[in-house]
C-alpha cells in the first residue's frame, strides 16, 4: 500500500517536473511546479514529517509559487517567450543522466545511519509541531535567528532593487 502511494507521488512529482522544464508556457510551468511541491508534501507525510509537509504546501506552494505566478502575470510574459536552448538541450540531458549514475550508485548503497541507529516506525511525536518547535527554539536557535536576518536582507534587497523612480539624483 505504502509503495503504491510512494510510486504515485513519485510519478506525479517526476512527471510534473519533467513537464515543467519542457513546458513553454510559464504559467503552466508554475502550476506544474506546484504539482511537484504538493506531491513532495505527500511524500513528506509518508515520512512522518507532517509539519514540513504543511510548510511545504503553505509556504512553498502557497506563497513562493504564487509569487512566481504574480511576477509572470505582472510582466505579462506571452506564451511563446522563453523556450529552450536547442543545442544545449541534448547536452544537458546527457549530462544529467551521466551525473545521475554516480549519484544513484552512491545513494543506492545507503545502508542506514552512520552514527544514529535507524528507527523503526514513528517515535512519539516525531515530526510533529511540538518537537519541531522545541528544536527550533533550543538547538537551532541560532540558525533561526540567522534566517530572520536573511529574510530581512531579502526584503530590503527586493525593495532596493525594484524601487521605481530611482532617478539619478546626482547634481
Amino acid at each position: 500500500m505504502e509503495l503504491y502511494f510512494f510510486l504515485f507521488f513519485a510519478f506525479v512529482a517526476v512527471a510534473s517536473s519533467v513537464a515543467m522544464i519542457l513546458q513553454r508556457n510559464p504559467i503552466y510551468c508554475v502550476l506544474l511546479l506546484i504539482m511537484v511541491m504538493i506531491s513532495i508534501a505527500g511524500l513528506y507525510l509518508m515520512l512522518d514529517a507532517q509539519f514540513v509537509a504543511i510548510i511545504q504546501i503553505v509556504v512553498y506552494a502557497g506563497a513562493i509559487m504564487v509569487l512566481f505566478l504574480f511576477v509572470i502575470m505582472l510582466l505579462n510574459l506571452s506564451r511563446e517567450e522563453g523556450g529552450m536552448f536547442r543545442i544545449q538541450k541534448p547536452t544537458a540531458v546527457i549530462l544529467a543522466v551521466l551525473l545521475f549514475l554516480p549519484v544513484a550508485a552512491m545513494v543506492m548503497s545507503y545502508p542506514g545511519g552512520g552514527t544514529a541507529p535507524p528507527v523503526e516506525g514513528s517515535q512519539a511525536g516525531f515530526g510533529e509541531v511540538e518537537q519541531i518547535g522545541t528544536l527550533l527554539f533550543t538547538k537551532y536557535l541560532l540558525p533561526v535567528e540567522i534566517a530572520a536576518v536573511l529574510l530581512l536582507i531579502a526584503i530590503v534587497g527586493a525593495v532596493v532593487l525594484t524601487r521605481k523612480g530611482t532617478v539619478a539624483t546626482g547634481e
Binding site: 545513494v107 538547538k139 541560532l142 536573511l150 534587497g157 532596493v160
Partner: protein, 488 residues
C-alpha cells in the same frame, strides 16, 4: 511539555551580533535623508567597533555558542577571518563614498547590505555546522546579489547581478544536496560529528556519501572562490558590478570561501585527503593556468583583475595539499595581503571611474603617471605586489604560500605555480607600462577630476600596508599562524 533551554553563550557570536546590529542601524539611519552624507562614516565607525569586539576576543580559548549544539564558535580563526572581512569592508566603504555618491547609489541600504554581507562572511567563518555555514553563505550571497545589481540604471550591473544570482543559487543547490548527503552519512551536519564519523570505522557506502557530499560542497565553494571550472561568472560579474562592489566581491566573498574551505578540508575532511588532494591539485593548477593565460589577453581592467583574482585563487588552493598548519596559515596570510592588494587595484579603478564610465580599459590608464602621480604610484605598488615582487607584501605572501607547498612535498606544484606567476607579470606590468610609459591616447573625462579624499585615504592605507607588510611581515605572519592553531 517542558522545554530545556540550552546554555547559550552570546559571547561566542558577539562579533556577528555587532555586525548585524551595525547593519541594521545603518539601514535605519539611512532612511533619514539628512544623515545621508554621514552614513559611510557611521558605517566605518560601526565596523571599527565590531572589529574592536573581535580583537578583544582574540587569544582566548574557543567559545562555542552552546554546549549541546555549537553551531558557531568564536576562536582565533574565525576572529582573524572576521577581522580580515571587516578591514576589507572598511576599505570598500572608503572607496565607495565618491563612487556611490556620483552614481546615486550611496544610500543607507548600500552600506547596510555591505555590512550584512560581512556578517554573513563572519558567520561562515565562525560556523561549525554546515547549516550555519550555509545560512551565512546565503546572507552573504543575497547581500551581494543586491549590491551587484545596485546600479539599477546600468544594464551591466543588472546583468551581472542576475548572472551571479542564477549561478549562485544553482551552486547553493549543489551545496545543499551535498549537505544532504553528508547528513545522511553522519546523521548530523555538525563538523565535529562529520569529523568523528570520518575518524571512526565506516562502511564503504558511508564513505561514498561523505565523498559525494564533499565533492558537491567543493562545487559550491569552488563557485564562491571562482575555482576553475566554476569560475565562468567571475569576469562578467566583476565587470558588471559597481567597482567597489567588485572589489568587495573579489576579496571578502572569496576570502570567506577560503576560510570555510580551510575549516572543511584541513580539519573536517582531513581524513579524506588522499581522495581530494589530487583533485584539488589538478583544479588548482587549472585555475592558475586559466586565470593567468586569459588575463594576458584582456584589455578591460575589471575583467583583467577578475582573471587575476581567479589565478590568485589558484595559488591559494595549493597549500591545501600540504595539509599542515603552515599551509592553512599561509592561506590566511595570503588572504590578508590579497585583500589589501585587490582592494587597492579595484579601488584605483573606482576612484578613477567614479565620474566617468564604468568601462576602464588599459588605454584609459595611459599617461596616468603624469596625470595623477600618487594614484599611479599606488597602482604600481599594487601591481608589483600582485605580481609578487619584493619588497611588497605580495612577495611575502607568495613566499610563505609556496614554502608551505614545498614543505608539503609538492615541489612540482610550486614550480608550476611560480612559473605561471611569472606569466602573470606580463599583464600586471602592462598596466604599469601604460601608466608610465605611454602618453595619454585621448583626453579622458576624468583627466582633471579631483580624486575623492576618502578613496585616496583607503588606497594610501592599502599601499602602505602592502609595503609595510612586505618589509615587516612578522606580526601578521604570527597572527595567521595563531589563527590556525585553534583549528582542530
Amino acid at each position: 511539555m517542558n522545554m530545556v533551554l540550552p546554555e547559550i553563550n552570546l559571547y561566542a557570536v558577539m562579533p556577528q551580533i555587532f555586525l548585524v546590529s551595525s547593519a541594521t542601524v545603518v539601514l535605519i539611519v539611512g532612511l533619514f535623508e539628512r544623515f545621508r552624507r554621514a552614513i559611510p562614516y557611521l558605517s566605518l565607525v560601526l565596523l571599527a567597533i565590531s572589529g574592536v569586539v573581535a580583537v578583544n576576543q582574540l587569544g582566548q580559548d574557543p567559545i562555542a555558542f552552546s554546549d549541546t549544539s555549537p553551531m558557531m564558535v568564536s576562536d582565533d580563526f574565525s576572529l582573524v577571518a572576521t577581522l580580515i572581512f571587516i578591514a576589507g569592508a572598511m576599505l570598500t566603504v572608503l572607496i565607495s563614498v565618491s563612487y556611490a555618491e556620483a552614481r546615486s547609489i550611496g544610500r543607507g541600504e548600500y552600506y547596510a547590505l555591505l555590512i550584512y554581507a560581512v556578517s554573513g562572511m563572519s558567520m561562515m567563518a565562525a560556523g561549525t555546522d554546515l547549516f550555519s555555514f550555509f545560512l551565512g553563505l546565503e546572507v552573504l550571497s543575497i547581500s551581494l546579489y543586491v549590491l551587484i545589481g545596485f546600479e539599477q540604471r546600468e544594464a551591466g550591473s543588472n546583468e551581472g547581478a542576475l548572472k551571479y544570482f542564477l549561478l549562485g543559487a544553482f551552486a547553493s543547490g549543489f551545496i545543499l544536496y551535498g549537505m544532504a548527503l553528508l547528513y545522511g552519512a553522519s546523521g548530523s551536519t555538525e563538523y565535529e560529528v562529520i569529523a568523528h564519523t570520518l575518524a571512526g570505522e565506516r562502511s564503504d557506502a558511508v564513505n561514498l556519501l561523505l565523498l559525494g557530499g564533499l565533492g558537491l560542497l567543493l562545487v559550491g565553494i569552488g563557485f564562491k572562490i571562482s575555482m576553475v571550472p566554476f569560475h565562468a561568472w567571475t569576469p562578467d560579474v566583476y565587470q558588471g558590478a559597481p567597482t567597489p562592489v567588485a572589489a568587495f566581491l573579489s576579496t571578502g566573498s572569496k576570502a570567506a570561501g577560503f576560510v570555510v574551505l580551510i575549516r572543511l578540508l584541513d580539519s573536517v575532511f582531513s581524513g579524506l585527503q588522499v581522495d581530494w588532494i589530487p583533485l584539488i591539485s589538478v583544479l588548482a593548477v587549472l585555475t592558475i593556468a586559466v586565470g593567468n593565460v586569459v588575463a594576458l589577453v584582456q584589455s578591460n581592467l575589471k575583467r583583467l583583475l577578475a582573471y587575476s583574482s581567479i589565478a590568485h585563487a589558484g595559488y591559494m588552493l595549493l597549500p591545501f595539499m600540504s595539509n599542515s598548519q603552515d599551509g592553512s596559515a599561509s592561506i590566511i596570510f595570503y588572504l590578508i595581503v590579497y585583500t589589501a592588494m585587490n582592494l587597492g587595484a579595484f579601488g584605483v579603478l573606482a576612484v578613477l571611474t567614479a565620474r566617468g564610465s564604468t568601462c576602464a580599459t588599459l588605454d584609459d590608464l595611459a599617461g596616468l603617471g603624469s596625470r595623477h602621480p600618487l594614484l599611479a604610484a599606488i597602482m604600481a605598488v599594487v601591481m608589483f605586489s600582485l605580481a609578487g615582487i619584493p619588497p611588497t607584501a605580495g612577495f611575502m605572501a607568495k613566499f610563505y604560500l609556496f614554502s608551505a607547498v614545498v614543505t608539503g612535498g609538492y615541489i612540482e606544484l610550486a614550480v608550476i605555480g611560480l612559473l605561471f606567476s611569472g606569466v602573470s607579470l606580463y599583464y600586471y606590468l602592462r598596466i604599469v607600462i601604460w601608466m608610465y610609459m605611454r602618453p595619454a591616447a585621448r583626453e579622458s573625462a576624468d583627466a582633471t577630476g579631483r580624486l575623492s579624499y576618502s578613496g585616496m585615504t583607503a588606497l594610501c592605507v592599502s599601499a602602505l600596508a602592502i609595503l609595510a607588510v612586505g618589509v615587516f611581515p612578522s606580526g601578521l605572519l604570527q597572527l595567521a599562524q595563531r589563527a590556525v592553531m585553534t583549528l582542530p
